[in-house]
């Protein structure tokens, strides 16, 4: 016999966010006036450093239908690559930037919009630099456990080519599913496909 690892616990099992996640996480969006506003609707609390950008996108199911009951959250560093987090020990992040956004998507089309800044680069655990990216998390009815992905940028070819995560991808023809496409100055599109030939790469991090 051996000693038991009895101090350890198992992570709570995930369950779907269901069709009414917006009631819990963005209640004002659903018409429930409470809290003085929804969390994560604005990522800026004042003038921010760096390049301001907008990212728009839609989450599609395996039949190509847009999800209108999803919630998308993003998390990213500021323009200098510093996170507005208690765990950030490398420097002082932009005080006017929250780094975190939450979107219920448009009521009719499901399209989400984030007004943010182009993130700076952040090192990988071994010290190599990662290409600028944003972490994204998607929950909805029919999704049993939240899906993690990353938003990279299609105008960062050199940094993307050296990125430690992108270079781990066996099927390199899927890398474009992680690239936000520049549509105009300051405007990127990042559609998320849950299934199908253009299925977005999702991560187990």
């Amino acid at each position: 016999m051996v000693q038991k690892l009895h101090d350890y616990l198992r992570e709570s099992p995930s369950q779907t966010a269901g069709p009414y996640v917006h009631i819990g996480c963005t209640p004002n969006f659903t018409g429930i006036d409470i809290y003085g506003g929804d969390l994560g609707t604005s990522m800026k609390t004042g003038p921010v450093q760096g390049t301001e950008i907008t990212i728009k996108g839609t989450v599609f199911d395996g039949m190509g239908a847009p999800l209108r009951d999803a919630m998308i959250e993003i998390w990213q560093p500021d323009a200098a690559g510093l996170f507005p987090s208690a765990n950030e020990t490398r420097g002082t992040p932009d005080p006017n930037f929250t780094g975190w956004g939450r979107s219920p998507g448009d009521m009719e089309t499901g399209e989400f919009t984030f007004d943010t800044v182009k993130p700076g680069a952040v090192p990988y655990p071994d010290g190599r630099m990662q290409a600028p990216h944003i972490t994204a998390w998607i929950v909805a009815r029919g999704i049993n456990i939240g899906l993690h992905t990353r938003i990279y940028f299609d105008d960062e070819q050199v940094a993307n080519a050296a990125d430690p995560v992108l270079s781990r991808i066996e099927h390199q023809n899927r890398v474009p599913t992680l690239l936000a496409k520049k549509e105009a100055a300051g405007l990127y599109r990042f559609d998320i496909h849950l299934q199908g030939p253009a299925e977005t790469i999702f991560f187990d991090i």
Partner: protein
């Protein structure tokens, strides 16, 4: 590295146990069929992008945010239904309390009806019940809120599927990798074992982990019953020997 009196540094997050967590594709929960990724997830160790997280301060929380009986009620009125306290701790896999975690919750009213445009169940809305609340955990990871016990409700899946009474939870810990949404069920509910969404869980142990026992110790006499519900987020290694360069 040589000063043994310094605390160990946080390392990467403990990998998620995918043999314990539900799969994406669970055909008896029909909506999952077209909404589950078909390619394998790409695994890699957590990085700063997942080991950091926004900070939600206690100042964010209003005095009624964790009281669903009153937070949408007209002055002098209150939500209809069995009054309950739900309380417990948010812990990590190493058994430590997670302080400062943002806990958001939402639920149907006592008749099983949600306050939502797309909700079509005929049960009546309660004009004094919004159905959402939030709180932030204390230094030991503890949280508490007051609400009414939600009712079960029917939903379009099989011909006659009903959700057991449940409360939805969204949890925000200290790293984005910990992000979790789950549901709490109530001890003794006969609908639990009939529910296709509960059915995505892979073991009775997993169902039990989401089923809150009645807790008479915390029940308030002549006022409300109580249910105790602990939740566990992913843990983060603590070590002097993390395989990463100094200063990262």
């Amino acid at each position: 590295m040589s000063l043994v009196n310094l605390p160990p540094k946080p390392g990467g997050f403990i990998p998620r146990d995918r043999t314990w967590q539900p799969d994406g594709l669970t055909p008896t929960y029909k909506t999952s069929v077209r909404r589950s990724p078909q390619a394998p997830l790409l695994s890699f160790p957590s990085t700063l992008s997942e080991e950091t997280s926004p900070v939600f301060g206690h100042h964010l929380i209003g005095p009624l945010d964790n009281d669903l009986i009153l937070n949408y009620a007209q002055p002098g009125q209150s939500a209809i239904g069995p009054r309950i306290i739900v309380h417990g701790r948010v812990l990590d896999e190493l058994g430590r309390g997670v302080a400062g975690a943002l806990v958001e919750f939402w639920q149907a009213n006592a008749g099983g009806r949600y306050r939502h445009k797309k909700e079509s169940y005929q049960a009546a809305l309660d004009p004094n019940f919004g159905g959402c609340g939030r709180t932030i955990t204390g230094a030991d990871g503890s949280y508490e809120f007051r609400t009414i016990q939600p009712g079960p409700y029917p939903w379009p899946n099989g011909m006659n599927d009903w959700r057991p009474a449940h409360i939805h939870f969204s949890l925000f810990g200290h790293g984005f990798a910990q992000r979790l949404i789950t549901q709490m069920y109530f001890e003794g509910d006969p609908l639990i074992k009939r529910c296709p969404i509960v059915g995505v869980l892979k073991s009775q142990e997993a169902v039990d982990a989401l089923t809150a026992p009645l807790d008479m110790h915390q029940s308030v006499p002549m006022d409300c019953l109580a249910y105790k519900f602990d939740m566990v987020l992913r843990g983060q290694r603590q070590t002097y020997f993390e395989n990463r360069k100094e200063g990262l």
